[in-house]
Symmetry: C2
Subunit: 298 residues, 2 copies
Amino acid sequence: MSELKDLTYGIVGLGIMGGSIAKAIRGNVLDIAGARGKILACDISTQSLELAEKGGVIDESFTPDNVDAMLKSCDLVYVCLYPHATLDFVKLHKDAFKSGAIVTDISGVKRLLAEDVKQYLRSDVDFVIGHPMAGGAKEGYVNSNGAYFEGRNYILIPQPWNKAGSIELMKNLIASMGFTRIVETDYHRHDHKIAFTSQLCHVIASALVESAEDESITEFGGGSFEDLTRIAMINAPLWTELFLLDKEELLGHIENFEKQLDFVKQKIKQDDAAGLEKYLTDVRKRRMNMGTFVSKDK
Amino acid sequence: MSELKDLTYGIVGLGIMGGSIAKAIRGNVLDIAGARGKILACDISTQSLELAEKGGVIDESFTPDNVDAMLKSCDLVYVCLYPHATLDFVKLHKDAFKSGAIVTDISGVKRLLAEDVKQYLRSDVDFVIGHPMAGGAKEGYVNSNGAYFEGRNYILIPQPWNKAGSIELMKNLIASMGFTRIVETDYHRHDHKIAFTSQLCHVIASALVESAEDESITEFGGGSFEDLTRIAMINAPLWTELFLLDKEELLGHIENFEKQLDFVKQKIKQDDAAGLEKYLTDVRKRRMNMGTFVSKDK
């Protein structure tokens, strides 16, 4: 297998994710003595590119107009775009990839790629479907961070067309970037689980914000409302796309959640102290068993 | 007004809240040169009392059996118990308070105290109803922390019977302990707002935990589910009491939240991308305007 430190990486989309990936590779993979690897990046924002180049994070900048010149020298291409845009990118630039290149993505819903990307792939290019499980209220290259992925989960969705070497290389790279757990699964299970841990949570946080009587509600805040709604500082176009792409799974989870919420509501309505205490005791036990997203805590 | 540094403080219940209050007073009020003040504490756990005494946090320990001996020398008594237990404590020990003492509480629902405490008060003892807005998944004296209140809100609910001097003294003490915002309101408004920022959030977090298919769900976690359910590591008896004490307000908020959730669900069902994006854009704007619970951030 090629050595990670000698590869040329291409980042397509230098936002919070692409920027953090570039910084994590620079800081953990290319900082080794004798490393010959490079990081190239393409973005619509020349400001982000300049910042990254001046900061020594990337070696060379490209724009969507000349990204083909970048792709022809990249051993590994990280497409850090929204789901539909990721597919469109592969479709549009399929002839530009270097022979033997690995292309990978970061998008939050996987059916689209798993079902459609193959038809746009050349036989000498491999596409590894993956999902780095990190995110937050902040956006853009200026908020990217080389330590963004420490302790986080990464989900890989291997496909029948993948070469064993590509998956192996991705796993090494992922571990180098700071992720502590790699979960391999199929795209059905990914989209089902992520609709719960990610999309349902964003739906709930959004509905909770809109339930507030006014914006001065945080005068009465003690941290709970703030914690539950931090993710509601949401990227509206991205999450609209994710909600609708994973619609069936998400609707199922919303309905399960509504049933649980109604169950608690009925217990409160009925003044059922014993039932509530039993329910909350189970909640506490379950939540403690769940631990955090950091596998080393488990 | 008496100087805070010269008072004798009595903490009833040395858990996470009582312990943090004792440490905040020790570190910010009694650390002044020439301070003659003392901190006495009562708890059912002799272990917590020993730890606090050895750590120099409290000067003398009492148990429920001999707490009257403590109360007779306290200028300010912090009752850090559950709501019903707070009222019961005042009722049971009303004759033991020092003449001129201020008694205050920390409980999360205020109607009970505002309506009932007066009948148990001697005319030479003042009771200030208050709510330090801090909390978390951790419990017990071992998790208490003198910096627990930094940047937090404190709600005061002044009553017709309160002496102006008592409120003034409490405000000085609260600011000394690290709180950055004091909100004064009546108990109706307190219980209405807190049912939203605190109790509704705990109901939602609990229902979300119970909606999970299994406890290994955090394998697919990226932080959102974890953030929304951290408060579900809940103290079941306390929250059962709070939910039922504030039942009417809480049920109203649950129903408003259910309507908002249904609104988002319908938009997803209808594939209404434009409507969803508009909704999420408003959510983001509202949430950003809300800021955090730290007034200095505003």
